[in-house]
């Protein structure tokens, strides 16, 4: 910030000799490239709205409030996919948040410096493994292991809703487990950053009053970092909602509202990934692009909230992905 304003100041001083053509061309040129991002976002929104218009016009609001997927008779409503997206993402967060937050506290407050660097690196590796590889692992390793686990869960927790039905292995539970592994690094990395951003004086004040380490973390540290941590969790939600390949491979692809954690389902992303290549008929394609549009709106909304919360803690300009 200071660098930029200084250079602008010095440019203005050079202005005695008249505006410099090279400088102005430089500013305009880089401005155009920067604007390309904005143009892309607008074009993206326009293209999706335009291409999904046949479906949106025919079904109106019932496109998102009704659960129907019948390419043969041309009846489309993506409620089941919205529901599947929400269910898998929230279940994934329920699994990943406690572990991710615990790991962040360990990295930020407890681990010795050396260990912290090593563990941070390994958790970043977890984020670098591509979705397709998690999908491959999910199909051939996780799903076979999950089948007996689901049988056991059904036998012992079968009186609860969502724990009934045939244990296929593939389905909501498998997708949620894979998702929880995939979003965990985001929760840990961003939470660690906001926890570390809490001023040392806060901790010292608590220690000087005789607080234990945990009391210091639970009290001043986590309270100051709270909205940033919530931001990290919402950011992870955004990732989970948009995650495509791994989910497509293990969720079982069934266009119904899932009544059990064990049953196959669809998410918005997996619906598009699975059917778009084979879609026939204008309305089917428009409906799939409509599903992509719903997904886009959902993720933009989620991400905007997350960024606002994280910015409030770390004070803008910090790189958070």
């Amino acid at each position: 910030m200071t660098a930029a304003s200084t250079s602008r100041g010095s440019l203005r001083r050079r202005g005695i000799f008249g505006p410099n053509l090279a400088d102005r061309a430089f500013r305009l040129g880089t401005f155009l490239f920067a604007s390309a991002v904005l143009a892309l976002i607008c074009l993206l929104a326009y293209q999706l709205v335009h291409a999904s218009r046949p479906a949106l016009r025919q079904f109106g609001w019932s496109f998102i409030s009704k659960s129907a997927w019948d390419p043969v008779h041309g009846s489309f409503g993506v409620l089941f996919a919205i529901y599947g997206t929400a269910l898998t993402s929230l279940l994934a967060l329920a699994l990943a948040v406690p572990i991710g937050l615990g790991a962040a506290i360990f990295l930020a407050e407890l681990a010795p410096r050396r260990l912290r660097e090593l563990l941070s690196f390994l958790i970043e590796l977890l984020a670098a493994v591509p979705s397709i590889v998690y999908g491959l692992w999910g199909v051939f390793v996780l799903v076979p292991v999950l089948r007996p686990v689901e049988v056991w869960l059904g036998a012992h927790l079968g009186f609860l809703p969502f724990f009934q039905g045939a244990p296929y292995g593939i389905g909501v539970l498998a997708a949620s487990l894979i998702l929880s592994i995939m979003v965990l690094p985001y929760i840990t990395a961003v939470s660690r950053e906001v926890i570390q951003a809490v001023p040392v004086t806060q901790r010292e004040a608590a220690y000087s009053l005789g607080a234990t380490r945990w009391e210091t973390i639970r009290g001043p540290v986590l309270r100051a970092a709270r909205s940033g941590i919530i931001g990290a969790i919402i950011l992870a939600l955004g990732r989970a909602v948009g995650e495509t390949m791994a989910v497509t491979m293990v969720i079982g692809n069934r266009a119904e509202i899932p009544t059990s954690f064990f049953s196959p389902a669809y998410t918005l992303a997996s619906l598009v990934a699975n059917e778009f290549a084979e879609a026939t008929g204008e309305l089917h394609i428009a409906a799939l692009i409509g599903a992509a549009l719903v997904l886009l709106v959902l993720t933009i909304f989620i991400n905007a909230i997350a960024r606002l919360l994280i910015w409030r803690v770390t004070g803008g300009h910090r790189r958070v992905r």
Binding site: F33, A34, S35, L48, L126, W137, E193, R318, R321
Partner: protein, 290 residues
Amino acid sequence: MTAVRHHHSSVRRARRRLANTLMWVLATLSALAALVPLGFVLYYIAAQGLPALNLDFFTHVPRPVGEPGGGMANAIVGTIILIALASLVGLPIGLLGGIYLAEFGANRFAGIIRFAADVLSGVPSIVIGIFVYALVVVPMHRFSALAGGVALGIMMIPTVMRTSEELIRLVPASLREAALSLGATHPRTVFKVVLLAARAGVVTGVLLAIARIAGETAPLLFTAFGSNLWSARLDQPIASLPVQIFTYAIAPYDNWHAQAWAGALVLVAMILILSAAARYATRGRLRTVL
């Protein structure tokens, strides 16, 4: 009275100490639990991928169903071609956009651009795929390497832009002032002095962006599509490692599954090397490296 109070406070102290130890243990266990999946995934990729890996894998194209052997040579080359195309699209916008944000980024419009870049980085990859399908594939009437490159290039932009901005900002003001005071124009100062000082960080941003897109599958499904043949033509469908892994993984043939694991091993190795190189280039100067 005092004895009772004393007793109470010692119980309380013990309880507080216990809570402290308990949380210590739980946090440590969480950190370990976070690493378990990484261990499992890497172990299975190595254990399943290595036996299926041989010279043919790197030198042959896929064989038809039922014929044993064959490899993913075309997909490996295809992935490299797609990364090159993506860089052509993503690097100019990302780098020059990042320079704009760092040099002229104090106004409201720059804030909007930053927000747009954040929004773009949050757009699901499958949505980018559909967007480029409508933008490039439909007008061209065919799937093509070009479309795949555009899709991946768009995904590179936010990473490159934000890392270049951040790293250019870190260059000391005295450097640019020295250049300006010698009479260098602003662009000359930026390209010859500032970028040179920030080059390690900028390289890191680019490598990270490439590592991020190298394994992307969803944006390629409906753009580059896939192919079982050698192809370097930009207006034709092209194979890529991720899509090939996907195709083989969901097919019902055991030898294809083995090849999918081998493909995953090669892909992960590629990405880990890129990420390690990116880390090495800056060595801890960049805050969040995800």
